[in-house]
């Protein structure tokens, strides 16, 4: 501490320190001279001369004294920086290239890692997320689960990992758990229609139990959150809105507390606003509106009766009491859970009684820091892939900076030699180079940080709809990428010079062929690595381009052009199912009057939009159960979409609720289920469920069409009229003359002439909807192609540099060969031959790695094998052609040398 203070004092009063030092030394010489005069009787001039000789070099000792005072280091550092800055600006092209490459590598990696970390490992923005627990179960086909609604993923050992629980489990946990301070339940109810300030819009909503906000530790920034007193059937309906929704929908209105809104037809009072950071209990989910669980009967999307006691539909979480472990929670709650399963199972609908089931689902207690579900596997796969690509880019960046520095070191050997000869110490030179490398790395890292800052917000929306993610730049990722690139810069910027200086000055005044050769070998290896890495990216990009092309060739099975699609959910406005049909018919009738509209139809699911609906059926002819796909449609569905009828009749307006039940099936179902081409008149029924008693009669067969995604073959599907199978929310398909979206305004006006409170959800064209399902391959193709192009460009610049350097180094040799009669073509071969094998080896390694990576991506490819010969061949051809050019140009220049000039070169 004291020393630091002294050093600071010296730095601050630098001039004073210097003056005192000069005074002190002058005094010494003066005193000595006086002594010498009196002792030896020398003359004054003689005495001073003698004194100065005895003292030695004043400047040298001053310098050493400065070092003793700790001032030298700082002086040198400042000089180093000044010099480094000058050296780097003098060679602006090199410096900019290095900084840009470093920035790309660091920026891309930091951003990708930060996003991956936030999306895959991010914790909920609540108080002490580590103190939360979540529950899930592992279930088999034999598990006593009568109805399930929620998330499911493959679990260990062929089980299904499911996160929803029945109401009775929640109630027992809430009332009996002693290891948890709070137990709370919630469930997303998707989109609800919200009417506020006389306009209707969709919002995403969740039902939450009374202790949800208390348990999470999420306060209200305005008003209050929901509490147990709100979660009662007789309570005044209250709602809490998110900060984001408050801003978006109510423009941050300060008087929002106490405002009433209609949600699916029920009036709620807004009682509070949650903090900006809070957006629900899923890491990548965003909730606009939270309402009490007890309000569920008023909000049910189907407008039906309350959920059965047997249905599993609630997500469960809890907060640990201090000092309690998850194992203790498990030990306490497992018996309670098992008992609740039995209660729930015995409450099942008698129509689905299935006495064979006796399996007990296995409950697990998990960390709740990410919510019960965590990120989806699809997101996980995509992000992992992007992570790999970013890693390859970082590798290319490092290798490239390394080779740039190598070439630079070669070009500067004369400068280094001169400085060594003039007496600079090795340590001093190394420090100089270190400073330069660090300056480069710092500039690169700063630019990289800027890139990361931009990219972290640009990335997530590519992978998830409507994602709200407060991504912070991940300090670890930045440090990792920064340190890696800096170390590369140091090793290659300094390490090489270090070896050079060890040799001493003399050998360096004349570059030896051997040292040059070693450097060239190193540079070649680096370029080989870059070629391999770029080829991997180009091949994979090629596979994705092929995938997209193959998708574009797929016959969808109907006419996708000039087709507008959107969703409607008029259930809150209709009292019962007959009303729903009646309302839909009025709405569609009004839309048909809009000029430019050819026809309008309905389907329960949007077509080719990753949505499926499967049912188990039994045919009357042979009783085996078959799982087939189902679509509920309006009678004119086939005509409107342009699906040609193969046999029989289409659905008709006369197939009403009271008419005999009919179905149209597709050609695949005719073949696979009925084993004949035209099974008109055949009958089948649902294998279970309340409607299994009444059979459907097959009245027609339509051509196959894609169902939920382009990548799958057309599944066996049957179509039934929505009049006989009313569904709440449906997709409206509007066939238009000309550009579909041009009619959006007219269609919206028509809908709201019938029901002003009914919003149009997700208006888009059918083509856009199909494109949406191809988002992953499209992003992957673009991302990989850009990364591959950058990689290839960098590798070629490196290649060009190495060949030029090689040719320059061997100018004398080339002169001799030419003087002895070598032809131009011989010289060309000589110079190019040295480099061809790097391209060959790099290409070989690249192809092998590309095959391996593509194997991992098999699931993302369509219509092309991971080891696709033609893609690999064309990628290789492209690379070899461009690399060949980078080699040929400098080689040709060498071959055009004038032999006499070349000989004079040395």
């Amino acid at each position: 501490m004291r020393r630091l203070r002294m050093l600071w004092h010296r730095l601050a009063h630098r001039a004073e320190v210097e003056r005192q030092m000069a005074d002190e030394l002058a005094f010494h010489i003066d005193a000595r001279a006086t002594d010498l005069m009196s002792r030896l009787g020398l003359s004054r001039a003689e005495a001073f001369r003698q004194a100065r000789i005895e003292f030695g070099s004043v400047e040298k000792y001053k310098d050493e004294s400065r070092a003793s005072l700790g001032l030298r280091l700082l002086d040198d550092l400042r000089a180093d920086f000044r010099f480094a800055r000058r050296a780097l600006t003098k060679n602006l092209g090199f410096s900019l290239a290095a900084i840009v490459i470093l920035a790309l590598g660091i920026g891309a990696n930091t951003a990708v890692f930060s996003v991956v970390d936030a999306m895959l490992m991010g914790t909920l923005p609540v108080k002490d997320p580590q103190g939360l627990v979540a529950f899930d179960t592992l279930q088999t086909r034999d598990s006593m689960v009568a109805g399930y609604s929620g998330n499911g993923r493959p679990g260990p050992g062929g089980t299904a990992r499911r996160t929803s629980f029945p109401m009775v489990t929640f109630e027992r946990f809430r009332d009996h758990a002693t290891t948890l301070s709070h137990v709370f339940a919630f469930t997303s109810i998707g989109s609800v229609a919200v009417v506020a300030d006389a306009s209707a819009e969709m919002a995403s909503a969740q039902l939450v139990s009374g202790s949800y906000f208390d348990g999470l530790g999420v306060p209200a920034v305005m008003g209050r959150t929901l509490g147990p007193s709100d979660d009662r059937p007789d309570a005044e309906p209250a709602a809490v809105v998110s900060h984001r929704y408050w801003q978006r929908r109510f423009f941050g209105d300060a008087g929002i507390i106490g405002k009433t809104i209609r949600v699916n037809g029920t009036t709620f009072t807004i009682v509070g606003v949650t903090p900006e950071s809070f957006h629900g209990t899923e890491v990548t989910e965003s909730v606009d509106l939270s309402v009490p669980l007890a309000m569920s009967p008023h909000l049910s999307p189907t407008g039906g009766p309350p959920r059965s006691r047997a249905t599993w539909w609630l997500l469960l979480m809890g907060r640990l009491k201090p000092g309690v472990t998850r194992e203790q929670v498990f030990a306490e709650l497992r018996p309670i859970f098992n008992e609740s399963v039995l209660t729930s199972w015995s409450a099942r609908d008698p129509g689905t009684r299935n006495p064979e089931r006796s399996g007990m689902p296995t409950m697990r207690v998990l960390s709740g820091s990410q919510g019960p579900n965590g990120p989806s596997p699809r997101t996980r796969d995509s992000l992992t892939y992007v992570f790999v690509v970013a890693g390859v880019v970082l590798l290319i960046a490092c290798v490239n900076v390394a080779s740039l520095l190598l070439v630079r070191a070669a070009n500067r050997r004369q400068e280094m030699t001169v400085r060594l000869a003039l007496g600079a110490s090795r340590a001093r030179l190394i420090r100089q180079l270190l400073t330069e490398s660090l300056l480069l790395a710092t500039a690169g890292a700063s630019a990289g940080l800027a890139i990361a800052w931009w990219a972290k917000d640009a990335l997530p929306p590519m992978f998830e709809d409507d994602v709200v993610l407060a991504t912070a730049i991940d300090a670890r990722a930045l440090a990792f990428a920064g340190v890696l690139t800096t170390v590369t810069a140091l090793v290659f910027g300094v390490g090489h010079a270090l070896r050079a200086t060890r040799v001493g000055a003399m050998p360096w005044l004349k570059e030896t062929a051997r040292a040059g050769g070693q450097r060239a070998l190193m540079a070649r290896t680096l370029i080989g690595v870059q070629i391999a890495a770029s080829l991997v990216l180009i091949v994979v990009a090629g596979l994705f381009v092929r995938t997209l092309y193959n998708y574009s060739l797929v016959d969808v099975g109907f006419d996708t052009r000039n087709l507008m699609v959107f969703q409607l959910d008029p259930t809150p406005s209709a009292a019962d199912s007959a009303d729903v049909v009646e309302l839909y018919e009025r709405l569609l009738g009004e839309v048909e009057t809009v000029p430019g509209v050819q026809s309008v139809t309905l389907s329960a699911l949007p077509v080719v939009a990753r949505s499926e609906w499967t049912e188990t059926i039994r045919t009357e002819r042979n009783e085996t159960a078959r799982e087939v796909h189902l679509q509920v449609v309006r009678w004119n569905f086939f005509q409107t979409l342009g699906m040609p009828l193969v046999a029989g009749r289409s659905l008709q307006a006369s197939d009403t609720a009271n008419a005999p039940r009919v179905a149209v099936i597709n050609a695949a179902m005719a073949r696979e289920v009925f084993d004949e081409d035209l099974p008109i008149g055949q009958r089948f029924r649902f294998a279970n469920g309340p409607r299994r008693d009444v059979p459907f009669e097959v009245v027609g067969v339509v051509r196959n069409a894609k169902y939920s995604r382009l990548s799958e073959p057309e599944p066996s599907t049957f179509f039934i009229p929505y009049t006989q199978f009313p569904t709440g929310r449906m997709t409206v398909e509007v066939r238009t003359m000309g550009e579909a979206l041009a009619l959006t305004g007219g269609v919206r006006a028509a809908i709201q002439r019938i029901d002003p409170g009914l919003p149009l959800i997700n208006v888009r064209t059918q083509d856009a909807q199909i494109q949406e399902t191809l988002r992953n391959p499209r992003i992957f193709a673009a991302l990989t192609a850009v990364a591959g192009a950058i990689g290839l460009l960098l590798a070629c610049i490196g290649l060009y540099g190495v060949v030029s350097y090689d040719a320059r180094r061997r100018t004398g040799e080339i002169g001799v060969r030419m003087a002895l009669g070598a032809e131009r073509s011989d010289v060309l071969r000589l110079v190019m031959g040295q480099t061809s094998w790097i391209v060959t080896i790099g290409t070989g390694v690249g192809l092998i790695l590309a095959g391996a990576l593509a194997q991992l991506l098999r699931g993302q490819l369509f219509g092309v094998e991971p080891f696709d010969i033609s893609t690999m061949a064309s990628a290789t051809l492209l690379l070899v052609a461009i690399a060949g050019l980078a080699v040929f140009l400098p080689a040709r220049r060498a071959a055009r040398l004038d032999p006499t000039q070349a000989l004079r070169h040395e």
Binding site: R2, R3, M6, Q20, M21, D23, E24, L25, F27, H28, D30, A31, R32, T34, E54, F55, G56, S57, V58, K60, Y61, K62, E64, S65, A67, S68, L69, G70
Partner: protein, 110 residues
């Protein structure tokens, strides 16, 4: 008069010893070393100053500007408490190791 080169590390010890009686300026330190060693050791005059600054930096010496015998402004060095402690420790260390070396050398002669 035979003169010996300084053993490495001994200059610091000699400087501490030289200023242990009273404060000395740089040239005074030199004279004092000549005097207490009987002129047997050769100190390069300039080399004194980096050593003085180093010891000052280590907190073993403190400095003060004063007037010399011939009435000129000079910088005087004196021991700090830490310097005095260091001198004592170094002296003991030196005595022990020098004694040991002496003994060893004599044994070989015998």
């Amino acid at each position: 008069m035979r003169r010996a080169e300084l053993l490495p590390g001994t200059l610091d010890l000699l400087i501490l010893k030289a200023v242990s009686l009273r404060a000395e300026h740089g040239y005074g330190v030199l004279l004092r070393i000549e005097q207490i060693t009987g002129g047997a050791l050769l100190v390069e005059q300039g080399a004194l100053y980096p050593a003085l600054y180093r010891l000052e930096g280590q907190g073993l010496l403190e400095t003060e500007w004063g007037t010399s015998d011939n009435n000129r402004k000079a910088k005087f060095y004196s021991l700090t408490a830490a310097g005095r402690k260091r001198l004592k420790a170094e002296t003991e260390r030196w005595t022990v190791s020098a004694g040991a070396v002496n003994t060893a050398l004599k044994a070989q002669e015998a």
